[in-house]
Structure formats: C-alpha cells, structure tokens
Amino acid sequence: MVGSIDKEFLEIFIDETLEYINEMEYLISKLQEQPNNKEIINKLFRILHSLKGNAATIGLDKLAHVSHKAEDLLDLIRRNQIRVTKDTITLLYKVLDYISKAVNELSAGKSISSPEEVLLEIEQVIKQATNFSEDKGENINRNIDDEKALQKEGLLESNDVKKMQQSTQKYQQGSIINNIDIKELNEDITDSASCLGILDFTESEKIKLAEAINKGLSIYCIILKFRDPTFITFRYFQALQRLGEVGDIIKSIPSGSDVLKMKTDTISIIIGIKKLNDLKDAIREINDLVDHKIMRISINDLNIDLNKVSIDIEGDRLSALENIIKKIEEYGEEHKSLTEPEPTKLKKLQEVRINVRSLDTLFNLVGELVLIKSRLLSLASQYDIQSLKEALTTFERLVNELQNEIMLMRLVPLHYLFRRIPRFANELSEKYGKQLDIYYEGGEIALDRKVLEELSEPLFKIIEILVKDDIEKPDVRVMKGKPSVGTIRIYAYREGNRVIITVESDGKGLDSEEVAKRAVELGLVPPSSIGKLTDEEKLMLATLPGFSLRNNEFAGLDKIKHSIESIGGTIEIYSKTDHETKITFKIPVSMATLRALLIKLKDQIYAIPVSSIITTMKLNVLNSAGNINVIKYQSKFVSVHDLARILEIENKRKNKNYIVLIEKRGKYIGLLVDEILGQEDIVVKPLSKLLSKIKGFSGATILGDGKVCLILDPISLL
C-alpha cells in the first residue's frame, strides 16, 4: 500500500504531520492547564480533522481512522459530554504517540502498525460518555451535524482533495435548509442582464468555486453600481479589498486587468461568504455606491458540475496538485496586483519549504565562498592591485551578508524543544512519584538547528535527573517544611554569541563534600587531589565518567557534559543543599564560524579556537619540575605539554619555540607547538561520523589552499 503512494506526496504528508504533532503536543499540554478552554479543543479538533483528510487522501486508512476517532472524542469534549481529566489527557497523548509512531514507520518505509489498541481505548471512553447521554438521535446524526457546525465556524480547511468531493455532497444536503433563510434574496439570477457572462466560469474559477463551497461558504452574486465611472478603477479596488475581508472572491466582471481599459459604472462579483450580515456591512462601507444588488446563487443554478470538478481532481492527483499550486499563484498575483493582501494568507505564500539537506549544501557552498574570498584577498595584497582590492571589498561585504543570512535561515527557536517539556515532566512525575511544577521561559531564543538537535538529549536528561534524584517525595518535602510540590525552572537567554540555558530545581541539592568523597570512593580521583579543589570544582567531579551517588543517584552527568561539549558548549553546576540545584549550559548560537589560531605541528596546520586561548608566548627557558615541564605565567606555575606527544604524532623537530596557553575548566595548560601562523575566521565543518569517536577534535575546516585543517578541542584533548 505504502509503495503506491507518490513519494513526494508522502514526504509532504510526513512533513506536515510532524508539524501537527508538534502543535498537538503543545496544545495538549495547554489543555491540561486549562481544561475548559474551548479554543484549544477547537484547534486540536481542527488539526485532527486536517490530518484525517490528508491521511485519507493518500490512502493511509489506519491513520485516518485513528484521527477520525480522536476527532469524535474531541467533539464530545467540546460538547461537555466528556470532561477533560487526567485520563482524557493521557488518552490524547496515546493518540499522539500512535500518530508519531505511524509517521516514524512511514518515514522508515515500513507499514503502519495496527491502531487497534488505541482505537479500543477511545471507543471505551466514547461509549461511557454516550451511555450517559440520553439523546441517542443526536449521536447518530453527529457526523453530519459536526460538519455543518464546522462549516458555520469556518473551521474546515480544504487542504485535501478527497474531502472536497465528500463535502460537496454533504453541502448540497445542507443547503436546502439554508435556502429557506434567504428566500427573499433568491431571485432568478439568470434573468439579470447586468451580470451577463458572470456565470460562465473558467477552469480555475471552477476550482475556486468548488473550494469555497467545500469550505462551507455560501455563494452570492453582487452587483455594484457606482455614481461616477471616472473613479471606477479606484473604487473597484476598494470594493474588492473590503469584500475580500469578508469572503472569498471567486471572480469579478470586469476583471482586474480589464477595469483599467473599460469605462463602466457596474461591477459584478461572485463571492463565497460565511455570513450574509458581514457582506451587507462590507457593502455599506463602499463609497460612491448608487445601487447594489445581492443575490444568493444556489448550487443548482451554477452552470458547473461540481462533482465533475472534484472527480477530475480525484482521478489525477498530480494534476490536482498542479491546480492547487496554480490556484495559489493566481491568488497571489491577483491580490498583489489589486490591493493590500490579507496578511495571513500572504504569509503562506512567503514561506517556502526547504529541504534541510539543500540548506546544508547552501551553507557549505557559502563556506567555500568565504574561503575563496580570503584567498583572493591575499592574492590582491600580494600583487598589490588597487582596483582588484576595491572590488574585493565589496565582494567581501556581500559574502559576509550572504553568510549571515544563511546562518539566520538555519536558526530555530527553542520553542521546538520547550514545547515537549510539560508532557515529559508529567511522565516523569508519574514515573518517580514526585509532585512537580515546571516553568520555562526564553522559548523565543533561536539557535542553529544542528545545535538545537544536539541539545535535546542533554536537556531532557538533566530534567529527568533532577526530578528523579533532586526533588524529594511529597511527604519528605513536607517534613522539611517545603511545599509538597517541587519546582523546576528552565530559562534561556542570550549573551553575546552564546545562549545560556539554566535548569534549576528546589530539591535536596548536591553537597560538594559528599560528591568529592564519593568520587574518591569510586576511585575516580586520587584522595590527595581533593584538598585543593574549590566547591565548584568538587561539584564538577560529578561529571566524571562513572560517577554516581549511592543508589545510582545523579548518574549520567558525564554523558550530558559530553553532549554539551560536543556542540562547543560548557556546563556548570551550582548547588545549595536543600535549597536549589542549578545546572547551566552555555552553548554557541551557531557552530558555523569560529575565530581560531592556526598553528603548525610537523608540517600540518591545526586550528585552536581563540575562545579557549589565554595567550601565546615564545619559549625561553623551560623549567622542569620532576618530569613535568612548567613555565611561570603571572606568578603562577603552569604545566606545559608537548602537543605532538599528546596527539601521538612523531615529531623529531627540536626547536619547538612557541607555547599556546589554553584554559581548560579554569586551569591553565601550556601546549608546545612548532610555529604560530596567526588568527583566522574559519568555517566549522563536522568530521565524519567515522571519526567522531576520536578524541581531541571538534571539527575541521578547509584552508585557503583547499587542504583540510583539524580543529583542536582543548577539553577532550587532554
């Protein structure tokens, strides 16, 4: 079954569904806070409705079925027949889980697993609820009512094709009832000479028409007669703008381009609207009007066969897609040329889906441009060509702008991670029997999507550790005189080129002495080294591989530290016993460019990030204290290591003349190198996965001569 779906179609579906999942996750967590908020329920309902339609369109019946049932569930919630309780929320999460699982299976090319379990659970809840309800007739007709209710609220979206066909039929049933309400207006439109030709629709207009009907809009013909044909063009645009606010304009005679040529005082417009009163209000606001006529057009009076339109679409999905695209283009052009467009609709047109891979390629190419730029600059200064230098100044500025722009394109707000927090916290509090309030702020801060991806795991892991090992059980908290509900606060803010994310909890805390004692006990550090450490350094011992307090508490901090460091970030721990535990991540906004010092070692160039360098110096005398070399820097003794030996490179060269002094977790370390070449802005590129286990490098860059240069990572180096 999956194989028969157009691959491109499926990709779009998966993309969209992932967005839906994200949104639903957020909405469900909100619903939990505000169980009576109808708006949230409606939004969820709408998402499920779209999902159902989309899934049905491409033949994913299982998904369509689950969405459909979930939609039923939400409908009952909306009608207050089911209350939003913890169980309801759990059930909604289960639905969400199923959908995520199904999407994962789809993207892995597998077939979707059976929805039986989740369907059964929904069924049960629905059955319970409807048993209470006495009005059985209502339930039978529920589906039809439902569509109608949706149509009235304008909630129905017409983004799938199959639905078009279904609801046109439904609409026709419904329209009989509606027609009674507007009897007075139902004149015989075909008699009216002034709108001659208005009912001859082109193919694209037919699609618009079908779409409007499908949205549940009623179709009206409006004839506007203006006082003075001189200003007709202006009035015409004004009228269309005003009418466009209350409904979907399907066509107008004269058309936008014709009105400039024609001298007429009458315009006919076909429009789909939700409420007649809105239309009347809109017409009242049009200036210079002598007379106007509003006529309801019943579907039967339209000279088109709507079913045929939708069958055509169903018959050939590709052409349907093309039609939709064409329609959007036409829509865009029409509105651009006529009036100020509706902001919400235009927004859609301004955004284009870009494959992440092509974004990465673009990013790589711009990186190459930056490199070529520096090569050209050095050539220009070498041969001292003034005119080339001038041209290059402009070139440099443009390339920098381009690079910046692409960097911005890759930024994604933290919301994408933060949204998942409430649900995660819920699961944790249940799993570990803790009561928990969780707050977060700073979701608007944007990070490179790669950084964000890498941040996800350590962030959620740290929350789990805090819930599990820091927050006490409710009774213990009460005994300590704390509120029984624990609090975790997560906040993010930007500081220069870094984003600071702090996770803070008010649990029992980490005692630095206890951590140090335990680290010695586990044999992670020699007992002698403990005495000199500050409290903060002692706490950092908890991030050593293999560390945990008794009962495996606070285990796994080493992995978190490693993940954070792999994206160029640092981690800090602060704790006050029985008061607070605070973990701070400082991470770069983007891993893209870096100011680095280039050094030479055995004929190969390496880059060291300037951010971790304290200073460089020429070596005069090296003092040996035992078998460790030391130098004196600002009245402190600093140990010096041969970088070649650290990297296990054979380097017989004797005259290692330079020392690069780096900082590693507050400690100064000197590195002996052959030569220092200077500073440069480098474009950081990831090393292959094959090399990711090799310690000491955070990535690589490409130098002006095209050669790859490795970037040293002082933290994992030693």
């Binding site: 490179i649 094959l690 050669k707």
Partner: protein
C-alpha cells in the same frame, strides 16, 4: 540474454578488486589529504571534496593484505548518508560481467568478498562494500 552487471575494477596491493558500479558515486584523484592524529590505522586521513570533509579509508588493513601504500585515487561511496573515500592504488576501469559467471568465494576468505570473477584471465575479487564499511565502523567503535 544473460543478466549483466557493471563493476569498477581497481588495484590494491598485488590483487584486483571489483565493486558494483551502482555503489560508487565517483572516482577522484587524491592530491592532498590531512592526517588525523589518534585515528585507527585504517583511516588514512581526511580530504576536501567540494567543501565536504571526507574520511579516506585504507581498506588493505581491513582486508588484511599487503599494499604498496602509494594511493593515487579514491573511490567515493555513500554510506548512511555520508560520503566515504576508499583509497586505491589505481583504478583500472569499468567492465561488464555476466552475473552467472560470478563464482562464490571460498568461505575461509571471509564475508567481505561477495564472489570472484574471471576477467581476461585475471581474477577479480568482488567486494561487499557495505560489509567492509560496517567492519570499519565496528572497529572505530562508532
């Protein structure tokens, strides 16, 4: 008609090796590459392929054969969405062979050879690239 496949034949050490052309992205000349300190023996280094950084593998280590270690060309393959370069001494060319002519490799050679084919009286060992790369990965501990 007999079913044919195309193979890319290259020399590594004293032997000729073949890979299915469908597994190969391209062949490039190795000009410069950068040594990676601390890397296992089968990783020669990294090089720049149009802005991407590609690891260069010495599969003679994995195949446990002697090679002259005078690598001139790299066969670029894609594995798990990443490009990997396999260093070879010389690419001989692309040949059409009949699938039925491929004989199974003796089992004691190991499971990285999918078969042996005779091409103009020369024996060509057909490599299972995927198996070799996954062996590299296991070895690297990734």
């Amino acid at each position: 008609m007999a079913k044919e496949i195309q193979i890319l034949v290259f020399r590594l050490g004293t032997q000729l090796w073949g890979v299915n052309i469908l597994d190969v992205n391209e062949v490039v000349k190795i000009k410069l590459f950068t040594l990676v300190p601390r890397a296992p023996k089968h990783i020669l280094g990294v090089f720049n392929l149009r802005g991407q950084i590609i690891p260069l593998l010495d599969i003679s280590v994995i195949l446990n054969i002697n090679s002259y270690r005078s690598y001139k060309e790299a066969v670029i393959v894609e594995y798990d969405n990443e490009m990997i370069g396999i260093a070879v001494e010389k690419v001989i060319g692309v040949y059409r062979i009949e699938e039925s002519k491929i004989r199974p490799a003796p089992s004691e050679i190991g499971d990285h050879i999918s078969g042996i084919v005779d091409l103009n009286n020369k024996m060509i060992n057909l490599l299972k690239l995927e198996r070799i790369i996954s062996m590299v990965i296991e070895d690297t501990g990734f």
